[in-house]
Symmetry: D2
Subunit: 375 residues, 4 copies
């Protein structure tokens, strides 16, 4: 069996393991204060600014020295740190109803004292209009009997694999600027988001639109690790104290440096990845691979007669809404995740491809569906 | 002008002030450990059990000695204490969307680390079905990526002045029993709830259906004060430590004893209240007064042509949905609270009567509406 | 028996009860937004600035319009609000080991996420040197593995009845200014502190030395209530949201206005209090009364042969260190509080006088000690 | 230069890297629900029970099926999870003053709402007597104005490298049993503790004495990872929900399984480690190596004339108290950690050896001290 359960079923891309092995006996100071991390931080800043072909960062007054990069092991930790760092105790974060922080982090934000207030946006695609409706309900922050919205959260790509357009992001940024809100973009799957078919957003756009965002490694070829990129000092202040307090700082911080360094290297080691475009870093090529495989999964399933897609995802996650019985069959055959029930008769199942999905997996999928009589 | 803004616009019923004055120079130990509080606790237990004409408490195995009564100054404090005491860190409380804890306590529950998860019930009338839908979404508490529902919260009466029927409450109790949930009934306006027209619920039913409930004093003739009645020791354990920690224990705890004592006295002092039934305590008669006045407000406004009631409230709060302009006029004339906008053209305004509403206020209302040309 | 247990054994001074009664049926908006509170706020600001006979406030650049006054029911609530409002999540507050927040508030500060770090100062008398030792241990806030000190807390008077000198307070202020610390002065017993024999501190000095301080009412003739006086907007921002969230805002906020208004009135009603000096408000005269009685208690006990004072308190609390047996006798006879054991053979007992202590109580004390054969 | 800064300066033992590489492309379900973790859990339980040569576990009524094992990335996370899981909101944890949770986790315990109360024990060696003094001060948990002690925390080995004797641990266990306290043993350096010269404690004793304890991997040859071993279901209940909420569950949980599996393997792969005793797992041999090297460091420094040891550590950390100038030289030469100043003239420096310390490092140390003229 091949599992399409998620994009963290495998270990790490060979480039990552090689770098870990190569640096293994070097002695480094702890807590991400080492040289490998310094280099990885520089690489991240380089990628952000080199993606800015039209000058959005300069126009927004953002310079490389304004960027703070911290590393944590996982996405929930990254999210709770940014949100906790940015909010005063009575302030809340606004998210789409299916935002990861709202449903799948066991109340992590609330555990730090903050309410997650939800808009009526769908598929995780937060909109300026959705935010404004929430602001209106909350008297634009002036009613002391209510929480005060102060940050908005969105994922790129979203829980359902969707991606905002550049216009949508800049609309949110403009709304935030005019209403004293911060914008936090959860990039746990940012490599797939940027590689989405039709995506018109660059890493520079993400940076220009966000007070803080993350670059996910766990779901893109690393053993673990998320980079938190902060450009608002109101979030960055004391961030490392907060990391320590929340159990989010890693003793062997060098592991982040080695891993991000491996995938952001542009000196030639990454060249062999099939989907590589130009001399881009492996980090981005791996996202392309994941998306390409998932769109192929979609094509195969469509050929086999499935078209009840939950939404029109252009990324590495594809969701089918199926009757309960067929859903269970898919779950058994491919390890698909059960993503809940839109009604009592149907279940949503998820197919995910990763940096590690091999061509054989796609052929296996087609054949297994046919063999099982599901087509 | 007479204000129909709320039921805490005035001070305290004369019986309360008299008792405070009469006991003023007595020396009492602090923190509700005094004799006045002991007597008030006994009175509360007496009222609960004397309301049990059909034996529901005995059948539920509830005896007077199982009841713990604590006193706090306000409703938000009562709510946060009960919820915090009952939940482990990853557990959540389920409420209707317009539950007080969800919208009007500035994220007080979240500030203690717990998510408030909402059903799709309306008018605050939580239902067993609504709870079950939430349980289903949360995999009946078995998914560690999500918060685990462990307590349900409802108000009696609700934010919109509605009251559950006895059947609705017992259905919720039965559901809770079969799903390892606790039930918390917020009785900030319980005296009005019990006095509602058509109400078939007694204080004994409340006690039988709840793991903990409150008896509100602030909105029913006291200067301040809520009695928290606890019959589940999982909530009661360490409750007084928690009270102290949360700033919810009052040094001159005697004030609760004096006030609840005054309004629960049944030795004759309360006899003069017009709405008194039998030899009931003033606490209940004051609720009757509030409700009677509010229903009269409703009758008057209906006579004057208003019928766009937001819901069919049988208690001391009446809500009209009006076009924005007329809503503003009512707010100016009667201090009505602006209760939000169902759409951009309309506003909900609230009329509240209290234990202190005089007959003249009703006549003033009628005349002022006519004089203002609103009829 | 007369109890010397504490200064909140009785109800309220008659001026307070009279004002409550006189305003009882007035309708006021809630949550301290009413006119009685507005007047009380103005009175507090007036008292602060009228106490400034030497221009310290002007020199510190503090003007009346910079002062924010909020009202809460009790001291623990006041403390937790100020501390929570002022600190980021990883910051801590520094206090003397026997600071109220460190030992007698059931971990209230920690419950909001902040560590209380203690100096080695004694009798609650925090010093600049004590603070600096803590700062050194915490690497002056630069070590992200440790909490970062950001606020210092002291009581005026302290838990043991001591008062800082003006020089001590200004030294702390100067230290705080040079080390980016805030100063919070807990004035639960400020009226007694200001009335202490030998006290050279004025209310203006308190204001000049503190980012926020409180004026206690509960222990000085009110039923309840503390005024929180804030002059640092970093604490004041969103303070009312925080009050609501923490259950610290009172629906009938008018009660604070009425009570503080009564005791800060200077139009003549207060003139009858024996200890009144000039036309000062009753608030201060009541503190004088408490202190005068307690010093008389001390004199009487010294005459009877007791001299093992725990410390040399100039205020309304006097502490004797006694062998365990005699301590128990005092506790039984006068309701003295057991304040712990310095060693296994001795116990500290506390005598407290209040605004309500009558002359007879002092005579009773003398006679009862003699009658019991304790002298 | 060779750094003696800490025991997490290097990456992972080759056995760990090999296992990670060997399992890299296997697909596993996430969040430690995979087979590698299942095997590692079984190995941990096996080690605990196989260490019980005298039947302490059976006498304590502890069976393998009572043991719950969870995996988290770091020590602060492990600590905060166990403490949060075990305490109600007003309960506190008792530790020695230099307990890691008290000084070096940036208030992590307080950030979850709990006070850390300290004894007067030294060198981290918590004693039953020290705990009892704290219990006395806290009225044995009966005073609701104070936090209630409910758990004790100790490290094995301590921050200063000391180890409790078996008698000391069993005394604490007995005290805890008779006072309704839980015992939590932080085993971040447990492998070195067990390997300490003169240690009479086994892993079975640790388990018998603790409600929960940890087995540290980060400081003993793994890239990262701590195993949390829980035998009190009051801690274990909902532990995985809490892990998720606190950002402490790892998506690629398999990494724990692979790493602990590698170091707990007893099928022969580990045989080559020089210090191996019998067929013990590498996990224990690596601890022996660390300790042996550190004791050699001590011997070398003593030969060179240094004898101002801060305490008599039998484990892999050695502390010298030096005048400030010499301390700085050692810090520069060997990357020693500055462990604070006992007085203004002296500094404590730390030498740490790890599983990776090579023989050359010890020779380098001797020569460098001589070359620098420090001897």
């Amino acid at each position: 069996m091949f599992s399409f359960r998620n994009d963290y079923s495998e270990g790490a891309h060979p480039l990552v393991l090689e770098t870990l092995a190569a640096t293994n006996l070097e002695q480094h100071v702890g807590y991400t204060e080492d040289e490998l991390c310094a280099a990885a931080r520089a690489s991240i800043v380089r990628e952000v600014f080199s993606a800015d072909t039209t000058g959005v960062l300069a126009r927004a007054g953002i310079a490389p020295q304004d960027i703070q990069v911290e590393f944590v092991a996982g996405g929930t930790m990254a999210n709770l740190l940014v949100i906790t760092a940015g909010l005063r105790p009575y302030e809340c974060v606004v998210a789409a109803p299916d935002g990861h922080i709202n449903v799948h982090e066991t109340g992590s934000v609330e555990a730090r004292g903050h309410k997650v207030v939800t808009t009526s946006d769908s598929a995780g695609l937060l909109t300026a209009q959705g935010i404004d409706d929430v602001m209106l309900e909350h008297c634009y922050g002036t009613n002391y009997h209510m929480v005060a919205p102060r940050m908005v959260y969105l994922s790129f790509a979203t829980e359902l694999g969707m991606v905002h357009t550049a216009k949508q992001l800049y609309d949110i940024r403009a709304y935030a600027d005019s209403h004293d809100l911060m914008v936090f973009i959860d990039g746990a799957r940012i490599a797939c988001g940027l590689a989405a078919s039709g995506c018109d957003v660059t890493l520079a756009d993400i940076c220009a639109c966000a007070d803080a965002f993350t670059l996910g490694g766990t779901k893109n070829g690393m053993l673990f690790g998320e980079a938190v990129v902060i450009r608002n000092p109101a979030i960055g202040k004391g961030f490392r104290n907060l990391m320590k307090q929340q159990g989010g700082i890693m003793a062997k911080g060098r592991l982040f440096g080695a891993q991000f360094g491996a995938l952001l290297d542009t000196t030639g080691k990454q060249a062999g990845i099939p989907e590589a475009q130009g001399d881009e870093a492996a980090y981005f090529s791996l996202g392309r691979h994941s998306v390409k495989c998932a769109l192929e999964v979609r094509r195969i399933l469509e050929e086999l007669g499935f078209d009840s897609w939950t939404c029109d995802s252009p990324t590495n996650q594809q969701f089918l809404t199926l009757d309960n019985e067929r859903a269970q069959r898919f779950i058994q055959l491919f390890g698909c995740e059960d993503c809940g029930k839109p009604d009592r008769e149907h279940t949503i199942v998820r197919f995910v491809c990763s940096w590690a999905t091999p061509p054989e997996a796609l052929e296996y999928l087609r054949q297994a569906v046919i063999d099982a009589g599901l087509a």
